[in-house]
Amino acid sequence: MNNTVTLRYFAQLAEQRGCHTEQVELHPGQRAEELYRQLQQRYRFSLDQEILRPAVNGVYTTWDQELQAGDEIAFIPPVAGG
């Protein structure tokens, strides 16, 4: 398991997944959009990619970012601060 990343789930995604964090294994060269598509199919997430923003290691990024072992990845649902 040396190709794992940590996923963080928030708001609706945490509710639908039933947890706030988990480790998953990456395919070589996997990008953020491919990982989300895979997770959405596996867990039947109701939120489509278009309304999420990917974040890697605490910074917003783009969907085509290639993920690395050890990354902390979150798919950020629409925010509601303030």
Partner: protein, 152 residues
């Protein structure tokens, strides 16, 4: 807080009432910025209604790592863009009841115009970028996640 430890831009998440932190922060910022002539403060508070439904309370959750980075970036951007003396943002997390402060924003500059504009800039950015989520609980017993802003 000691004055010499206070940076000109800052962001905090807190589970305690915001007043505790903000009232601790303000005197030190004022003392260390004698050039300041105008301070504009925004307080966002929990209201008792949302789209026609009676709200009893709500709960804020945050992604601390990303919120820390984004919140600090928003304050830094405001300071640079408007030439502020300071820019500070505090956001509450956890359970809040009606009337409690959800967010506190402080912008200070030698003259008032920049402070007003910067305060508005920061609250708008917070609503679009800060990874904080609101779960509202209604009088009729229902509850749900509220979308305030879609990502732009």
């Amino acid at each position: 807080m000691q004055d010499n430890q206070l940076p000109d831009t800052g962001f905090r998440l807190t589970e305690e009432p915001i007043e505790i932190l903000s009232s601790d922060l303000s005197p030190g910022l004022i003392r260390s910025h004698p050039q300041t002539g105008g301070i504009v403060t925004f307080e966002g508070r929990v209201r008792n209604h949302h789209q026609g439904r009676a709200v009893l309370r709500l709960s804020y959750s945050a992604y601390e790592l990303l919120a820390g980075n984004e919140g600090q970036d928003i304050a830094r951007e405001a300071k640079e863009r408007f030439g502020l003396d300071w820019a500070w943002i505090i956001h509450r997390t956890g359970d809040l009841s009606v009337g409690e402060m959800a967010v506190w924003i402080s912008a200070a500059s030698p003259h008032r115009q920049e402070a007003f504009a910067a305060c508005r800039f920061m609250i708008d950015e917070v609503k679009h970028r800060l990874p904080v989520w609101k779960h509202e609980y209604y009088e009729d017993g229902s509850h749900e996640w509220v979308y305030c802003a879609h990502h732009t």
